[in-house]
């Protein structure tokens, strides 16, 4: 009787855990299904090349044109800018925290980094509109709403991701590596930069890819600082406004209808494909590391 009872509990609990696992899978499937069911017909109606490789976005013109090339390029530029700004700072911060930081400074820096991760993106956007945009306008020219402003905001936003994952992967390098390096007469700096950091390479790469994922999908902060102008490819400049895939959806979704609305969902499909590519490269890296 006793045994049966515990078996029964076992089965029930197994089912509950299995269901929990199933729900997240179902959520992903449902989102995929919705995106592709609504998005693919619109893409085929607009025409694949007219959608992806056309830089003219004029949903209210007659005849309307729905080209998102400018936004694809915009997303790539803004994300690249965020990487250029965020990765060196984040990486150096991670190295400092894991190898050089005295305990009393660590106690301040680490919680600050964690707090940075918890700030809602709308607050970043507000900060960007009130501080970064005027700063760029007065120091670099233009009207401030630009690729540069968006890159700075995103660069700050991806810092926590890069810092915490890089730091823990540097800390995870076995102590024996450092001891071996000291043993052959290397200095602390040589040990850190030539042994510890290279050994943590895959973790650092993972942090950068997760950072890219965060930057490319960020919406609320970018929409407030990027200016959202659809720029022809030859007019895109660092100090000129830009529209990304995410901001295209959020600026026009509220009133859009018909094919316009479907075209915005298709924009989401393209974004989704970007994220899938990023995740695939992530699992490629981790499987490579496991083989090594």
């Amino acid at each position: 009787m006793q045994i049966r009872q515990s078996n029964f509990n076992e089965i029930v609990m197994q089912a509950i855990f299995f269901l929990s696992a199933l729900i997240s899978v179902l959520a992903v499937l449902a989102i995929c299904l919705f995106l592709f069911m609504r998005g693919i017909p619109a893409i085929s109606e607009i025409g694949f090349t007219d959608f992806i490789f056309n830089e003219k976005w004029g949903p209210v013109n007659i005849p309307a044109s729905y080209g998102i090339l400018s936004m694809i390029v915009g997303s790539i530029y803004v994300t690249a800018g965020a990487i250029v700004i965020g990765v060196p700072i984040g990486l150096m911060c991670a190295i400092f925290l894991s190898e050089f930081c005295p305990d009393n400074i660590y106690k301040i820096v680490k919680p600050a980094v964690n707090l940075l991760a918890g700030i809602p993106s709308i607050i970043y956007g507000f900060f960007g509109m009130q501080v970064i945009v005027p700063f760029v306008r007065e120091n670099f020219g233009g009207n401030g709403y630009s690729i540069l402003s968006a890159s700075i905001i995103l660069g700050i936003m991806i810092l926590p991701t890069i810092i915490s994952i890089s730091e823990s992967s540097i800390r995870a390098v076995p102590e024996s590596y450092a001891e071996g390096s000291y043993g052959i007469g290397a200095t602390k700096e040589e040990t850190v930069f030539k042994v510890m950091v290279p050994a943590a390479k895959s973790g650092i790469l993972t942090s950068i890819i997760l950072g890219i994922g965060r930057a490319i999908g960020e919406t609320m902060a970018v929409v407030m600082v990027a200016g959202n102008a659809v720029m022809p490819l030859d007019k895109i400049e660092l100090l000129k406004p830009i529209r990304t895939l995410t901001t295209n959806i959020v600026t026009e979704m509220s009133y859009a209808s018909g094919l316009h609305e479907s075209a915005l969902i298709s924009t989401g499909v393209v974004l989704f494909v970007f994220i899938i590519i990023l995740n695939a490269s992530l699992s490629l890296i981790s499987s490579k590391t496991q083989r090594n």
């Binding site: 209210v60 102008a229 600026t251 026009e252």
Partner: protein
Amino acid sequence: MKNNRILFITVLIVILLIVFTGCAQETSDGQTADFDFDKDITVVARDAASGTRGAFHEIMNIIVKENDTEVDKLVVGALEFDGTDKVITAVEGDKYGIGYISLGSVSERIKAVAVNGAEPSVENVKSGAYSVSRPFLLVTKGTESDLVKDFLKFSESTQGQKITNDMNFIGAADSPEEYTASGMSGTIKVAGSTSVAPLMEKLQEAYQELNPDVVFETQAQGSSQGIKAAIDGSYDIGMASRELKAEEASELNRYVLAIDGIAVIVNNENPKSDLAADDITNIYIGEITKWNEVK
């Protein structure tokens, strides 16, 4: 070893100091500069799907119509925001900015300029002196039922006009009267402009509170659809956020539900307070790019 560590920390602190003092100096610089007419104008617009944008661009001839085509000529690089608040914040923060918002949203944060000498006030919009406005029309075929007439009476009553004014539109009825519930029942079918739809929805809710047996069927797919539906009789009331064309007007009864004024706004530090309509158009299509080219 120890020295290196100190060196590393010192360098880090120096870098941070340079960055922060840099920020502080530059921001204080910017605020003292005067209005520079040689600077580029920052053009701020609404997103493509916005009703305000549709109306403003049409009134100011930024949308160019030729035969069957319609092209929005908004200058490349114009900022586009998805809300009135963001347009205000952008113009408030940029001395050289220009934008447009619904008249009801004007505040001290920005300056609403006169267009062709007419101040953007409720009186000027009502009298027609201020040209940047559009009517919200309700049209019927003239064969409507008593129920539809009763609803139209409600929309022009004191209660209806109060709802209109509360939504920052300008009530157009000259001498509104108090509406008393008629207790009628039936269905009213309404179609048309997406810009009028939010106001229509509020009016319907209030009307249904007084006459709970009335049911509404509303479809919002644009002014043209509403006008067409009213002409062919498939809907009782058509909503339009533009003036009727001559051939449409001949077949329909026209009720002005409200007037929606659109204010052209600039930064408070901008010395201009009166712009010619042509200049505004030229700014928005990129023919004028600097404030010194504006008369």
